[in-house]
C-alpha cells in the first residue's frame, strides 16, 4: 500500500492549527489596542487614544529609545563578531581550542538567562563598571553573537565551495577570494543575523534587568513592571507598535533578499 504523497488531512490540520495557535493571540492583541473602551469586555469602537497615551508617556518613550540604541549597537557588534566566528568555524578546519570555542559560542543559545545575567552583573561589579547603557549593550552582544553565528554558519556551510576554489585557482589570495566571492553571497544571512540580534536585544528582559543601572531602563523592563500590575490598554498599543516595527524590518529584509537572489544559493538565508 503506497503512502499518499504530498499532504494528508492530518498534515493540513496540524499546519492550520499550528498557525492559528501561533498567530491568534497576537492578532487579538493588535485588535484590542484600537479598542476605545478601557474594558476588555466592551468594544467601544475604533480609537487611537492608547497610542496618544503612549506617546505622552515620557518614561516609556525614553525606555523605547534606550532599547533601540542598545539593540542597534549590540546587534552591530554581535554581527561583526558572530560572522567572524562563523567564518572561523566553517572554513577554519580544526584548530587548537576549537572545541572550547564552539562550546562557548553556542552555550548562550540554551543557557538560562538568569545565569548569564547574574554572571555578567557580578563581572561588572567586580570591575567596578558603571551600570547603564554599555553594560546592557555588552551583555546583549554576548547573548546575540551566537545567534548571528548560527545563521551565518548554516549559510556558509551550504554554499558551494567550488566558487571560492575557482577564485583561488584564478589567482586570488584567500582573503580576496573571500571578500569578492563569498562575502556578497552571505550578505543576506549577515543582514538576517543583524536583525535577529536586534529583535532579541529589543525583547530581552532578564539579562537587561540584571545588567542595567539606574535611569537606563529598557522597554521590556518598563513593560514588565506595568504588566505585573495587570492588563492595561496602553500596553496593547505599545506592543502593537513593537510588532509593527519588527514586521516592517522582516518584510523589508525578505524583499531585499528576494531582490538580491543569485544563483549559487541552495537555501533561504535562514
Amino acid at each position: 500500500m503506497k503512502m499518499p504523497k504530498g499532504l494528508s488531512h492530518f498534515n493540513i490540520a496540524s499546519l492550520a492549527l499550528g498557525a492559528a495557535f501561533l498567530y491568534l493571540p497576537i492578532v487579538i492583541l493588535v485588535i484590542y489596542s484600537f479598542n476605545a473602551s478601557r474594558l476588555v469586555t466592551v468594544w467601544g469602537g475604533w480609537s487611537l487614544r492608547w497610542y496618544y497615551e503612549f506617546f505622552n508617556d515620557s518614561a516609556m518613550i525614553e525606555a523605547a529609545w534606550m532599547s533601540v540604541r542598545v539593540g542597534a549597537v549590540s546587534a552591530s557588534i554581535a554581527t561583526l563578531l558572530g560572522t567572524a566566528a562563523a567564518v572561523a568555524l566553517s572554513r577554519g578546519e580544526g584548530f587548537r581550542g576549537r572545541t572550547l570555542f564552539s562550546g562557548m559560542l553556542y552555550a548562550p543559545l540554551v543557557m538560562p538567562e538568569v545565569i548569564t545575567g547574574l554572571s555578567l552583573l557580578l563581572l561588572f561589579v567586580a570591575l567596578n563598571a558603571e551600570r547603564g547603557f554599555w553594560t546592557v549593550t555588552i551583555a546583549h552582544t554576548t547573548l546575540t553573537m551566537c545567534f548571528v553565528a548560527v545563521v551565518v554558519q548554516s549559510r556558509l556551510t551550504a554554499l558551494d565551495r567550488s566558487l571560492e576554489e575557482a577564485a583561488m585557482d584564478l589567482g586570488c589570495d584567500p582573503v580576496r577570494a573571500f571578500a569578492a566571492v563569498t562575502l556578497p553571497l552571505i550578505i543576506p544571512s549577515i543582514a538576517a543575523g543583524w536583525m535577529l540580534a536586534f529583535t532579541l536585544s529589543l525583547d530581552d528582559l532578564v539579562i537587561a534587568s540584571f545588567t542595567t543601572g539606574p535611569g537606563s531602563a529598557t522597554l521590556p523592563i518598563r513593560i514588565y513592571s506595568e504588566v505585573r500590575l495587570g492588563v492595561k490598554p496602553e500596553i496593547n498599543a505599545i506592543c502593537t507598535l513593537v510588532i509593527a516595527v519588527i514586521a516592517a524590518v522582516i518584510v523589508s529584509a525578505s524583499v531585499a533578499a528576494k531582490l538580491s537572489n543569485q544563483p549559487g544559493e541552495t537555501a533561504a538565508p535562514l
Binding site: M1, G6, G18, L39, S102, M145, I250
Partner: protein, 304 residues
C-alpha cells in the same frame, strides 16, 4: 588544484576577536559566580563579603580565601524550599518538552511535506512570532486568559461554563505560555532534518509493504532523531531556568528555580545565595549541556 590549507589559516584568525570576547564576557563571569557563591551576604557595597582587595597585599587575599565557605550550598541542599524548586523546574521542563515534541513534530512534518515553493513561506510564518517580542506574546495570552478576557467571554457566550473560569495564576496557563514561546525552537530543528530527508526512503519502505504507521516509526522517526535531540535540548535546558513565564502566568505557591534565583537576588538582595543557586542549576544542567554541545559539534562536522 586548490589547496584548502591556504584558506584555513586566515579563517582561523577570524576566531581571535570572538574568542577573546567570549572568554572575557562568558567564561570569566562564571568564575565570579563561583566565588560569590562561597561568600556571605553583607550590608555593604558590594553586598557580599569577603571582598578580594588585590591592592591590600597577599595577607588580605589569604584572609579572604579563608573566609570563603560552602555554607550557601549546605543551605540549598538542605532547605526544602530550594530542593522543591529544583525538582519542580526539572519536572516542568520535562513535561513542557514532551508537549512541545508532541505538538511540534506534526507541524514540522507537515511543513516538510509542503510543495517546495511553499516551504520558505511556512518557515517564515513559524519564525515571525519568534522574532516578535517574547514578552508581548506572553502578555497577549494574559489578555485572553484574564478573568474577563476573551476566552471566558467566549465560553460564557457559548454557555459552556456558568461563571468565569480562573485561567491565570495556574500551572495550565504556565504550560500554555511555555509551549507557545518555545514552539519555534522545537519546530525548526525538526523541520531542518525532515526537509532534508529523502522521500524515496519512505516510498521504498511503503513499496516493500509497510503500513503508513510502520513507515513513520521504522523509517521517518529514526532518521529524524538528530532533529528530535536538538529540539528537545534546545527547549529543555532553557525551560529549566525560565523566569518570566512562571512569574507572569503561574500561581505563587510553588516557584521554579529561575524565580527563586530572581527573588534571592532582587528581593532578598542575597547575592551569595543567588550565586549558589546558579551554580547548582548549572551543575544540574551539565549533562544536557554536554549532550547539546556534542550534538552541535556533530552537526558541524557533518555539514563541513
Amino acid at each position: 588544484m586548490s589547496d584548502h590549507s591556504i584558506f584555513t589559516r586566515p579563517a582561523r584568525f577570524a576566531a581571535i576577536a570572538p574568542y577573546v570576547w567570549m572568554v572575557l564576557f562568558f567564561l570569566v563571569p562564571f568564575g565570579f559566580v563561583l566565588k560569590i557563591s562561597l561568600s556571605q551576604t553583607a550590608i555593604s557595597q558590594p553586598p557580599y563579603t569577603p571582598v578580594f582587595d588585590f591592592a591590600a597585599g597577599w595577607a588580605s587575599i589569604e584572609a579572604a580565601f579563608g573566609a570563603l565557605s560552602s555554607d550557601n550550598f549546605h543551605l540549598l541542599l538542605s532547605d526544602d524550599l530550594y530542593v522543591l524548586s529544583y525538582l519542580r523546574s526539572l519536572v516542568v521542563a520535562a513535561v513542557s518538552t514532551s508537549i512541545l515534541l508532541a505538538i511540534g513534530y506534526p507541524i514540522a512534518y507537515g511543513m516538510a511535506r509542503l510543495p517546495k515553493q511553499w516551504q520558505p513561506i511556512a518557515m517564515m510564518l513559524v519564525i515571525v512570532p519568534f522574532w516578535t517580542s517574547f514578552l508581548i506574546r506572553i502578555y497577549a495570552w494574559i489578555n485572553i486568559l484574564q478573568h474577563d478576557g476573551l476566552l471566558n467571554q467566549i465560553l460564557l457566550a457559548l454557555r459552556l461554563v456558568s461563571a468565569p473560569v480562573v485561567w491565570l495564576s495556574t500551572d495550565s496557563a504556565m504550560y500554555l505560555g511555555i509551549v507557545y514561546s518555545y514552539l519555534p525552537f522545537m519546530i525548526l530543528p525538526l523541520y531542518a532534518v525532515l526537509a532534508k530527508m529523502e522521500p524515496a526512503l519512505e516510498e521504498a519502505a511503503a513499496d516493500l509493504g509497510a503500513s503508513p504507521r510502520e513507515v513513520f516509526w521504522l523509517v521517518t522517526f529514526p532518521l529524524s532523531l538528530p532533529g528530535v535531540g536538538a529540539g528537545v535540548l534546545l527547549c529543555f535546558i532553557p525551560i529549566v531556568g525560565e523566569f518570566v513565564i512562571p512569574d507572569l502566568l503561574a500561581g505563587s505557591n510553588a516557584l521554579m528555580i529561575g524565580q527563586t534565583l530572581w527573588l534571592e537576588f532582587f528581593t532578598n538582595k542575597d547575592w551569595p545565595v543567588a550565586s549558589a543557586t546558579a551554580i547548582v542549576l548549572l551543575a544540574l544542567l551539565l549533562v544536557p549541556l554536554l549532550l547539546y554541545d556534542r550534538l552541535q559539534r556533530r552537526q558541524l562536522e557533518q555539514a563541513r
